[in-house]
Structures are given as C-alpha cells and as structure tokens.
C-alpha cells in the first residue's frame, strides 16, 4: 500500500488532532506556565499585573495547611477506598463466575446499575441514607445493635461514609473486567489442581490470583487514577467538611481556581495532582515488571 496523501491525512486526522491540541495539549503547557505566575483576579481584568514568581506557588503549597489536609484526605480515600473497591469487584466477579449460580445476567445487570447512574444524583440519595435520624443505614444498623451514627457530620466518619458510597457506586465496573479475566483462565488448571486435592483457597491463591495479575494491575492503575480525582462526592455530600475532613485535592483546586480566581496557585495544585498520579502509575508499572520476572 502506498503512503496516504497529505490532504487525505489532514481531512481525517486534522479535526481530531486540532481539538486535542487546542483543548488538551496546549492547555497542559499553558497550565504549566501559569503555575509559575501569580495570575489572579486582578490580572484576569488587566494582564499587565501578571508576574512570573518562579517556584513561589509550589513553595506555598508546602506551607499551606489546607493543601496538606486535602492531600491527606485524598490519600486516605485512594489507599482505603481503592483496595476495598477492587476487592469488592473481585469478590463479585468470582461469585458471578461460579458455575453454581444461575440468572447471572440479572445479577450482573443489578450490580452494574450504580456505575451508569449520575454521580451527583446518587450522592444526593446517599446523603439522605446517611441521615442520623431518618436515614436507612442507621435504621438497619439499629437491628445489629449499633447506635445511630452521624455519618456525614462526624469528622472521623465522613470520609469512611464517602468511601462506602464510592465502593457501592464503582465496584460493578471493575467486576466486568475481572469476569472477562476469569473467563480467560483455562479450566484445566482448576481440574488438575482438584485432582491433586487442592482446597478452594489454595486454588484461589495459586491459580486465580497469579493468572489475574495483569488484569489486577490494569484495574489498580485506572482505579487509582480515578480515585485521586475525587470531587463530586464531597462537593455534594459534605462541601469538604466537617472540619475539612473530606476536602480533596480537586475540590481545593476548584475552590482556589474558580471561586477565588487564584489561577496561578490553582494550576500549581492541579500539577501536583498530576505528578502524584504519575508517580503512582510508575510504581504500579514497576510492580508489574517485578511480578513478570
């Protein structure tokens, strides 16, 4: 086949690459430059006020208690919520992959429903479910002899409450990917293990987990990236409170950038998030390399 002519290329790739360039790649570079300026509400009105401030914004981040709080909360959400969510997905996938279960389609569909529904709407529903007096959760916990908890009003419980909701909302997505991974494991491996008298746990430990490793790494990376971008849940359910216990990095970035118009500072926050995600992803890939050896 001969090379495609330039005009054809421009016709097919031009629109897509132009949109990506103008609304993604150039803005990334612009944000990088802005993060070294003091761009704020004054320079928004008159660009003459704009000054380069070097690393000032990044230095300020280090001494900004609010940023550290947001960082700590976001890590809490990722480190506790991520594994919990992945474990729930794997459990559900194994359950629905069992030969003993029928009506798989209906179960799978039900588990998947929260994934496709609007996050803001379900966050509002959960806000009422978490209501200390009238909420369903406390009512059911009452049957187990647990006293009513102020889920979204207690600084120690607000983040766990958001994590529970996030696991409920998201586990169906990774479940689908895990089911596909499970179906790729050859049945003979399990049969051979059964002949040698392996227990269910041994089979899980020595066949399922290793065979699923590539899937798990992929899921861990996309879940981590997604969870670092926590925003709508605290925005709708707690506004970052109580006592900033659910303030996330993106929520802080939004407040600084779009509420106070501290644009330079806000882009520095956004870039810090990018760097954290980048480091996290590199670590995941290293783990994958190490496992493959």
């Amino acid at each position: 086949m001969k090379k495609t002519t330039f005009s054809t290329l421009a016709l097919f790739l031009g629109p897509g690459l132009a949109v990506l360039l103008i609304f993604f790649f150039l803005p990334v570079m612009a944000a990088f430059i802005l993060s070294f300026t003091d761009f704020n509400i004054y320079s928004l009105g008159n660009p003459d006020y704009l000054r380069f401030v070097g690393f000032d914004n990044y230095m300020k981040l280090f001494s900004d208690d609010m940023f550290w709080t947001a960082l700590k909360n976001t890590f809490y959400f990722v480190i506790a919520g991520g594994p919990l969510s992945i474990a729930a997905s794997l459990g559900a996938a194994i359950l629905l992959n069992s030969k003993l279960i029928r009506f798989k389609g209906i179960f799978r569909l039900t588990y998947f429903l929260p994934v496709v529904t609007t996050l803001v709407a379900v966050a509002i529903v959960w806000r009422y479910i978490y209501h200390p007096r009238y909420g369903l959760l406390n009512y059911f916990l009452g049957f187990c002899g647990i006293d009513p908890l102020d889920w979204l009003g207690d600084p120690h419980l607000a983040m766990p409450a958001i994590i529970i909701m996030a696991v409920w909302k998201n586990f169906g997505y990774n479940m689908i990917i895990f089911i596909a991974g499970l179906q790729n494991i050859p049945e003979e491996l399990y049969e051979a293990a059964s002949l040698e008298g392996a227990s269910a746990w041994q089979k899980f430990r020595n066949i399922t987990l290793p065979m699923l490793a590539p899937t798990t790494i992929f899921i861990t990376i996309i879940t981590m990236i997604g969870y670092f971008q926590l925003f709508a849940e605290p925005y709708v359910m707690t506004q970052g409170g109580p006592l900033n216990s659910t303030l996330s990095i993106v929520l802080y970035m939004y407040q600084e950038g779009f509420r106070w118009w501290n644009i330079g500072y806000s882009t520095a926050i956004a870039f810090s998030l990018f760097i954290i995600i980048l480091i996290g992803t590199v670590i995941q890939f290293r783990v994958q390399k190490a496992l493959e050896k």
């Binding site: 086949m1 090379k3 495609t4 054809t8 290329l9 016709l11 097919f12 790739l13 629109p15 897509g16 690459l17 949109v19 990506l20 609304f23 993604f24 150039l26 803005p27 990334v28 612009a30 802005l34 359950l95 629905l96 069992s98 003993l100 279960i101 039900t110 588990y111 429903l113 929260p114 496709v116 529904t117 609007t118 996050l119 803001v120 709407a121 379900v122 509002i124 529903v125 959960w126 009422y128 479910i129 007096r133 009238y134 909420g135 369903l136 689908i176 990917i177 596909a180 992929f218 971008q229 925003f231 970035m253 939004y254 779009f258 882009t267 956004a270 870039f271 998030l273 980048l278 992803t281």
Partner: protein, 269 residues
C-alpha cells in the same frame, strides 16, 4: 449447601445495590414529610406525584433537561464523526511517525483533565463561549480514548476490502463513508453510549462553564436545587429520578454495547 451460600450472598449484594434506588423512587412518591419519619418507610402510603409536578412547573426542570439532552447529543454526534475518522486513519493509513504520534497520545491519557481546566476556561471565555452549549461540546468533540477504541476495531477490517474499493475508483472519504462506517457500526454504538452517558453524568466541567443558571445541566441544577430544598427530601428524590432515568434507559436498551466497550478498553493497546 454451598449453592445456598452463594445464592444468599448474590441476593444480599443485589439488595444492597438496589435498595438506594428503590428508596429513591419510593421517597419521590411520598407525601411531603413522609420520607423523614422514624422508623423510615420503604414504601409510600399512597402515591403522590406532586413533587414531579412541582419540578416541571415552578422549578423549571424541563429547561435543564433540554440543556442536558442537547449538550449530550451534541458531544455524541461530533465525537463519533471526529473520533471515527481519526481512529480509522491511525489504523489503516500509512504515514510517517504514525506509531510515535499514537503512542504519545496514549501516554498523555495519564494527565488528569483537571490540569487543563483553567486554561481551557480562559480560552473559551476569550472566544465568548462560556454559558453556551459549545463550551461543553467543543472540548468534547475529540477524545484519545475514542480514537483508541475505533482504531482497535478498525484493525479487524481486512485491507483487501479497502483496496478493492480503491480499484473501483472510490475516494478516501467515500471509502470511509460507504465501507468503514457500516462495518464499524457496533463500536460506533459503544462509543456513542460512552460519550452520551459521560457527558450527561459529568459535573465538574458544566459547573465551571455554566455560570448562568439558565444554562445548567441536570446534575448542576440538582446540586444547586439542594441548596434551597435540602429539607424537601421527597422533592430532591424526584429530581434524582428525573436525572438518572434518561441514562438508565439508554444503558438498559444498549447495555450489550456498553459492556463490550469496557472490555475493549481494558485490553492494552
């Protein structure tokens, strides 16, 4: 015995997953104040549709519904056209540094969208597009994930088919229109659902670019409504039902394509 255990676990999880939805629908049909009682009610005493009526009359939810529908359909149509052309080009065209460019695109997917938000907002502001549908549609017209999805699918189309059409004297654009588009229909449906639902459910971007309350999308309008009506549980639940229902219907009708898309997206490129 094992079977009973498995079934009861599966049903237990299904109940937990479904209960919030059941309560949402049920509370949206209760009389004012009935959703705030102890012990909580699971079902309404008698059906009361007045909250839905109020949403569409005095609270003008229909305007937000129209905004959401137009914006989501707009993104879907443009992104299908632009991403399918791009994806096809990356799969079947021959040009220099094709793989380098594509790998660069794939790698840059790790950059979180929040990084670009302020510059994109300022650009759109200079273009006078803030508080217009274009503020959401234009940046959503192309996506790396969309190009990737189409490219993967186009690899399954045999080159001989394209060659044959060329022999017949068809232009590149005609081949795309008459050969490629019909053959890629399943993946176009998949990408279409992703674009539609992704745009419908999005919150942060519409919150930023729609500052005029008349331009709100449903999720933004709903979050805003809660500021004034947080005590009206029944009303808020009715608003949630209205927000969720359209995407739910799209999903239920086309779920096969959606699930396939997730699995394709999870295959490393």
């Amino acid at each position: 015995m094992k079977k009973i255990l498995l079934y009861s676990t599966a049903i237990f999880v299904a109940v937990i997953t479904f209960l919030p939805f059941l309560w949402m629908i049920s509370a949206s049909l209760m009389h004012q104040g009935q959703a705030n009682t102890y012990p909580p009610r699971l079902l309404p005493e008698s059906i009361d549709t007045s909250h839905y009526y109020k949403l569409f009359s005095s609270l003008d939810l229909s305007g937000y519904l129209v905004n959401s529908v137009v914006i989501s359909l707009g993104v879907t149509v443009f992104s299908l056209l632009i991403n399918s052309m791009g994806g096809y080009a990356f799969a079947k065209f021959r040009f220099r540094r094709k793989d380098t460019i594509f790998n660069f695109l794939l790698t840059s997917m790790i950059i979180p969208g929040q990084v670009t938000m302020l510059p994109v907002f300022l650009t759109l502001k200079n273009m006078g597009l803030i508080n217009t549908y274009w503020a959401i549609i234009v940046p959503g017209m192309a996506s790396i994930f969309g190009i990737f999805l189409i490219r993967q699918y186009c690899y399954s189309i045999p080159d001989s088919l394209i060659e044959a059409a060329k022999m017949d004297g068809a232009s590149d654009f005609k081949i795309y229109l008459k050969v490629i588009l019909p053959l890629t229909k399943p993946i176009l449906v998949t990408l279409g659902i992703f674009s539609f639902m992704g745009t419908w459910n999005d919150f942060l971007w519409p919150l930023i670019v729609m500052t005029d309350s008349g331009m709100y999308t449903l999720p933004v309008a709903l979050a805003n409504l809660m500021g004034e009506h947080v005590q009206d549980t029944e009303l808020m639940m009715a608003g949630s039902v209205v927000t969720i229902l359209p995407v739910l219907i799209v999903f239920l009708v086309l779920q096969k394509y959606y699930i396939k898309g997730i699995m394709m997206g999870s295959v490393k490129g």
